[in-house]
Symmetry: C2
Subunit: 253 residues, 2 copies
């Protein structure tokens, strides 16, 4: 059974400031939680589960011990962010920032300069996971990686992708030789370029694009060409654009 | 001022059955509405706008006549589907199904077999708009094209893209010579294929993929290759996958 204080605590993690204060975040979805429990990098603080889940996950239950709270389905509804809550919900500790993967200068990496929509952020982590991108860097202004909607949209990618919040200037100091590619609306036609196997792809904010201060430090400005017969579309969704550009890089590597 | 009946009517358009009953749908966003008012294919039934919008859109006001209802911002909140309502909201008539564009057998077209998420559906329309895809066909089970979230996520693409709800079998009867490509998880590696300029790309449901009955009628099964070092990702978001595959087709055409 969930105490009022626990409900209040779990709900408070909706807000970034509380996630930072407690160093904890919410994870939902049976499949994602199964992966979370197997993953060695994340510490589970609390797991709320219905008798149905508990009955079928006895080995996990044995390991969780007093971290497990048995809840009824209507209790789960009070703390879930999903329209249709699953039988389980976890609170995990935010891990320490991981070291850069050594392949930083031999593979394609991502820098997200102000991605705001949590759905886009999660979807981009999923792209990074699929294509094996070693590092995803995000600017201070980007959506919080531990926002429940980011975690959800990432479909478990947050468990596997190496990500780090860092200013662009500071990142360039750490990677002085990196060649950067900024996705803009008036850049070089990506379909006509020969892309390298490595570099840093920079994706900007959904509405405003890449900040001018970042753009001026970028080596190449690139664009996904629109239809020649001139459609009226002004842009692509940021996650879709990321997927397209990453796949064009990966195609020849 | 909005009558209670009007509020009730506008809110009722949230449901597909009511959109079908009244043959009307909701449009929001100042930019999308500006495009809607310029577009000849859509009939505006009703436009609710604040004095701020009315003041700066006098030529539109003159044309709208009695279709315009002046509303206060708090009235707009009652009917808006947006967290932060704009100054304007329109009800438009669902247009008749357009004829197939003649380029059906010379360009790439899309068939969506059960896309459920309205955000994905809208984002895919935006992709079709960007790349100038002549026709987007959707199965009966797909999200409704006039769902407010689809309209919103399409960013105005619904005004320009030619789409049609049609069964796969029936479509093939109309296009007997078309070569079809189904996005699956165990298909031919897209990075190693030479893709034609035309055909029909089939994208399946977010969770279940393409239905077996459709899959068996598809000419080629194709996949976006995942990282060679084996990430744990099981799939890409459906709209992202669509964007990637369409761009690989367009790259050489």
């Amino acid at each position: 059974m969930l105490s009022k204080n626990k409900i209040k605590y779990i709900r408070s993690l909706d807000l970034k400031k509380n996630r930072q204060k407690y160093n904890s975040f919410l994870v939902e979805g049976e499949k994602i939680i199964a992966e979370l429990l197997q993953d060695g990098n994340f510490e589970v603080e609390l797991l709320c589960a219905t008798p149905t889940w508990i009955e079928t996950h006895q080995s996990a239950v044995a390991l969780l011990k007093e971290k497990l709270i048995e809840v009824k389905e209507n209790e789960l509804k009070k703390i879930s962010k999903l329209k249709t809550p699953n039988h389980v919900l976890a609170i995990a500790k935010i891990p320490d920032v991981k070291a850069l993967k050594s392949s930083t200068e031999t593979e394609l990496n991502l820098y997200l300069d102000g991605i705001q929509d949590p759905g886009n952020m999660g979807t981009i982590l999923r792209i990074a996971d699929w294509f094996g991108i070693p590092n995803v860097f995000v600017s201070e202004e980007s959506a919080d990686l531990y926002n429940p909607k980011v975690v959800q949209a990432s479909m478990g990618a947050f468990l596997r992708v190496n990500y780090q919040k860092i200013g662009f200037e500071k990142l360039l100091q750490q990677l002085p030789n990196i060649v950067s590619f900024g996705a803009v609306l008036d850049g070089a036609n990506l379909f006509e370029m020969t892309l390298p196997k490595h570099g840093l792809l920079v994706i900007g904010n959904e509405g405003k694009g890449i900040r001018a201060s970042v753009l001026e430090q970028i080596t190449h400005k690139i664009s996904i060409p629109a239809a020649k017969n001139g459609s009226g579309a002004e842009s692509l969704n940021a996650a879709v654009a990321t997927g397209i550009i990453v796949s064009l890089f990966k195609q020849n590597s």
